[in-house]
């Protein structure tokens, strides 16, 4: 790389670009590296939108639902293979490319299979009927006598027929998706319910898989965006000479959007680290350690009641005994292992964005609107990134890259740093819950109330950091998804009320983080259930079974209990152990969203009272999500949900001062490490005759409660704040001490 030979200052639509050594206008135009041409139709009414049958009989499936390491691609391929009668190995799934995939919505809320998979299934079932009709014409045999097997249309008893590739002849089927096209009978399933291996794993284990971080396009510049030292601070000055010794580096400034770019990634990193800039002071955050009063005293935008059964007010007033407790769930990061990355190429004829966003169509609409580019000629292509578990920094990185490419008129790759990702990914929000229970004279739970303080969701597309910094108009929406769900017990209680105070403000931008809100709500609900069971001297498992009537609920709990070897007795553990290490067991149960998966999780812990270290020794989870498509991929998801939520429960809390997030590396935002990972046993209850429910989230939901209940069993200490480890660096106090300052009353 040569020394800077020329200094050019461009002004482009309010952007100031100071370059050393290259002029963006000199860049030779390069063809788009897009081997996969756009296709049509993309209308969800058309079968051809969802699948293409190639002349060799291979089939490609297209869906806007994306696989973020979850095994969704293999599961959707299985659902399609079952209907089409072709071997699983002949199917390829293309996900999340707006120029190739119909829009079945973004990926989230465990809807990959329930909405994406079922849409593909119905299209494949319709295609099957079309193939049988084509086969009937060719073979001169009535449709009723034909079937499809091994990729051939055949007479039912025959072993030979016409390959579907030959039958279709490279054409489109030109039929609309028939909602009444008959589906394969679950009793006849031969592909759904088996566990073929995921197609992505061999490349991932040999370093050949292309992640978004690995995408390069010809003529591409490497960029880093420099975020302000305080949230909302304004850029006052930039000293470009501070990076002038670095070869080929340009500084781009658009209002308070500041970036460095060059053709050499390391030069860009060096420039980002050494660029001198000054910003206004801003100190508008409460600090993470002040979040509880911040929530309780926050401006309430509106109150909303989600459940109001019986007469809670009177039942509580009439109760022989009432109990209350306050639970707190902290602000948490998606903490993706790989920092977000994106590549954008804005050209007069159209824009291409490569991104690991889970919502490519939604991102396209927002990018087009905010950056004033036509959506029709914008293509957003999903490329898998590091696991995202909701909306991490990916959408912001895409906006960064788009703004830079539009400004510089070259393809630009933006790679976030570790500090960027933990500091600036939108966060799973903090939650504060007050619980109140009323017991009747017989000690029976009669009334329950949950009161939440949570940030309100605001309409419109979520804020994009680049747009905000560059002074562009945007919706400024805010959406952490359905964080209010599962605020009531998953067992019947006569009088129940669940309500939220939706708060106007929240310190950090929010988004959906795995099972939004529900790990925190169920931490409160199922821990408080355990408190009630302990106060009434009842075995926590028996307490739940006494109230449940749904046979699937009862089965999931009993299966887990048996596998775990539950010793029935009230908590805490009456057997005092010698030494400082005390052992205990706990359980929690949830009906996900009160309408979907049944999950029961049991845990065994050892707590060192002198150090406060909680060792999770063993986890048993029984899981019923109805129809199971790929049991091994499902188990992988459940194991991951358990492990990740143990990490969130034990260690994770976004720390911030009055200006900015301060937990920006793996030392200050620790996640669960290998030696802490417990043995996990997953019991998958398969129900072929039932509809399927998504499974990316549900197993995460009971984890914190099961762990807290096990810690109570071991120590007699009730933990009402997450994370458990961070808050207790000096160890547990005496049994019965109450760290969150709440407890029984009445």
């Amino acid at each position: 790389m040569s020394k800077p030979t020329r200094r050019s200052v461009l002004k482009t639509a309010g952007a100031i670009v100071v370059s050393f050594g290259f002029d963006p206008h000199d860049a030779a135009a390069q063809p788009l590296p897009t081997s996969n041409a756009p296709r049509s139709p993309l209308d969800v009414k058309e079968v051809d939108s969802f699948l293409a049958i190639h002349p060799d009989g291979a089939v490609t499936i297209y869906t806007s639902k994306v696989d973020v390491g979850t095994g969704m691609r293999i599961a959707i391929a299985q659902m399609a293979a079952e209907e089409l009668g072709i071997p699983i190995g002949r199917i390829t799934v293309v996900d999340g490319d707006t120029a190739r995939c119909p829009n079945n919505g973004g990926t989230g809320g465990s809807t990959g299979l329930t909405r994406g998979g079922t849409a593909v299934r119905q299209a494949a079932a319709t295609a099957r009927q079309a193939l049988l009709r084509l086969g009937s014409e060719q073979l001169k045999v009535p449709v009723a006598e034909l079937t499809i097997a091994d990729g051939e249309v055949r007479r039912a008893a025959s072993t030979r027929g016409i390959g579907i590739g030959r039958l279709v002849g490279g054409r489109q089927l030109r039929v609309q998706v028939d909602a009444n096209a008959p589906l394969a009978q679950p009793s006849d399933y031969s592909v759904v319910g088996t566990s073929p291996r995921r197609p992505d794993v061999p490349a991932k284990c040999t370093g050949r898989y292309t992640y978004i971080q690995d995408v390069t396009v010809p003529g591409m510049l490497h960029a880093r965006v420099i975020r302000p030292p305080a949230i909302g601070a304004t850029l006052t000055s930039v000293d470009e000479s501070s990076v002038s010794t670095l070869p080929g580096v340009s500084v781009v400034r658009i209002e308070s959007f500041l970036a460095v770019v060059s053709e050499n990634e390391w030069a860009t990193v060096r420039a980002a680290n050494q660029l001198k800039a000054t910003w206004t002071e801003r100190h508008e955050l409460p600090g993470h350690d002040k979040l509880e009063p911040y929530l309780r005293q926050g401006v309430v935008e509106r109150d909303q009641t989600f459940v109001d059964r019986g007469d809670v007010t009177n039942a509580l007033a009439a109760a022989a005994k009432t109990m209350n407790a306050t639970y707190f769930w902290p602000c948490q990061s998606h903490a993706s292992l790989g920092p977000s990355c994106a590549v954008a190429d804005v050209r007069p004829e159209g824009t291409t964005v490569w991104t690991s966003s889970q919502v490519t169509y939604g991102l396209r609409a927002t990018l087009a609107r905010v950056f004033e580019l036509p959506a029709e000629s914008m293509r957003v292509i999903f490329v898998e990134g590091s696991g995202s578990y909701g909306t991490n920094g990916a959408d912001h990185a895409a906006a960064d890259a788009l703004l830079l490419s539009k400004t510089l008129r070259r393809p630009v790759r933006v790679q976030w740093s570790r500090q960027d990702e933990l500091g600036w990914d939108p966060k799973g929000p903090q939650q504060l819950l007050d619980l109140r229970a009323g017991l009747d004279a017989a000690g029976r739970l009669a009334a329950w109330q949950t009161e939440m303080w949570i940030p309100a969701n605001h309409r419109g597309a979520r804020i994009l950091l680049a747009a905000g910094a560059a002074g562009l108009a945007q919706d400024n929406g805010r959406d952490a998804a359905a964080i209010y769900e599962n605020g009531d017990p998953s067992y019947p209680v006569d009088h129940v009320r669940v309500m939220a105070h939706w708060l106007r403000d929240t310190p950090l931008n929010t988004s959906n983080l795995r099972a939004p809100g529900k790990p925190g709500n169920v931490f409160a609900v199922e821990s408080f259930t355990d408190e009630i069971a302990a106060a009434t001297g009842i075995d926590p498992l028996a307490f739940r079974l006494q109230r449940l009537t749904d046979p699937r609920a009862i089965e999931v709990i009993k299966r887990a209990a048996t596998a775990f070897g539950w010793d029935a007795r009230p908590s805490p553990n009456p057997k005092r152990q010698a030494g400082t290490v005390q052992e205990g067991r706990g359980m929690a149960y949830v009906r996900y969203k009160q309408a979907e998966n049944y999950v029961a999780t049991f845990m065994e812990v050892a707590v060192d009272r002198s150090t406060g270290v909680i060792a999770v020794k063993r986890v048993v989870c029984a899981h019923d999500c109805g129809l199971v498509v790929n049991a091994d991929a499902l188990k992988n998801q459940i194991e991951g949900a358990i492990t990740q939520t143990l990490s969130r429960t034990l260690h994770e809390e976004v720390q911030f001062d009055t200006a900015r997030v301060t937990s920006v590396d793996w030392a200050s935002y620790p996640i669960l490490r290998f030696p802490e990972a417990p043995a996990i046993e997953v019991i998958v209850i398969e129900r072929r005759d039932q509809p399927l429910w998504g499974a990316g989230e549900a197993a995460a939901v009971p984890i914190a409660a099961a762990l807290g209940n096990a810690v109570f069993d071991a120590t007699g200490v009730r933990l009402r704040r997450v994370p458990f480890t961070r808050l207790r660096p000096s160890g547990f106090g005496e049994a019965g001490s109450d760290p969150s300052g709440s407890g029984e009353a009445g």
Partner: protein, 153 residues
């Protein structure tokens, strides 16, 4: 501009860098187009960038390219291919020991270094040896099974 040569996956490779302190990771992922090693933190905290330098597990995001001149570097691509994985990679595939897989290269290279020194580790020894490799998806149980499988294979 300084030039450094080293053996990468048994091949002699050369890179030109403007800065001798440039971490090896940027040479591997950039001019050498070996993207198996991943940027996770750039701080030596997560292990995603782990490669072997003379058979020692090394954080490619921390070690300067000048410090590995003339040495023998093995990346995950140097073990096997999707069609012909080496036994450790094959064990990871058999156990489906990945979700997003972003940590996988680093896990495999750290485990490889362990198995070279200690062919038959206990589960605890594997967990301790991989303590510096983070997995956010929570695939630890499967990764442990994969390494144990490889050690018995």
């Amino acid at each position: 501009m300084p030039t450094y040569t080293f053996l990468v996956n048994r091949e002699r490779r050369r890179v030109d860098v403007f800065d001798p302190s440039q971490p090896l990771l940027y040479a591997l992922r950039g001019p050498l187009r070996l993207t198996g090693a991943k940027l996770g933190c750039g701080l030596g905290q997560c292990g995603s960038c782990t490669v072997l330098v003379d058979d020692q597990a090394t954080r490619a995001c921390m070690v300067p390219v000048s410090a590995v001149a003339g040495r023998r570097i093995t990346t995950v691509e140097g073990l096997g291919t999707p069609e012909k994985p080496d036994p450790l990679q094959a064990a990871f595939i058999a156990e489906q020991a990945a979700q997003c897989g972003y940590c996988t290269s680093g896990m495999i290279m750290s485990a490889r270094a362990l198995l070279m020194k200690m062919p038959h580790p206990t589960e605890d020894e594997v967990k301790q040896a991989l303590a510096g490799n983070l997995c956010r998806c929570g695939a630890y149980v499967r990764i442990l099974r994969a390494v144990m499988r490889a050690s018995k294979g």
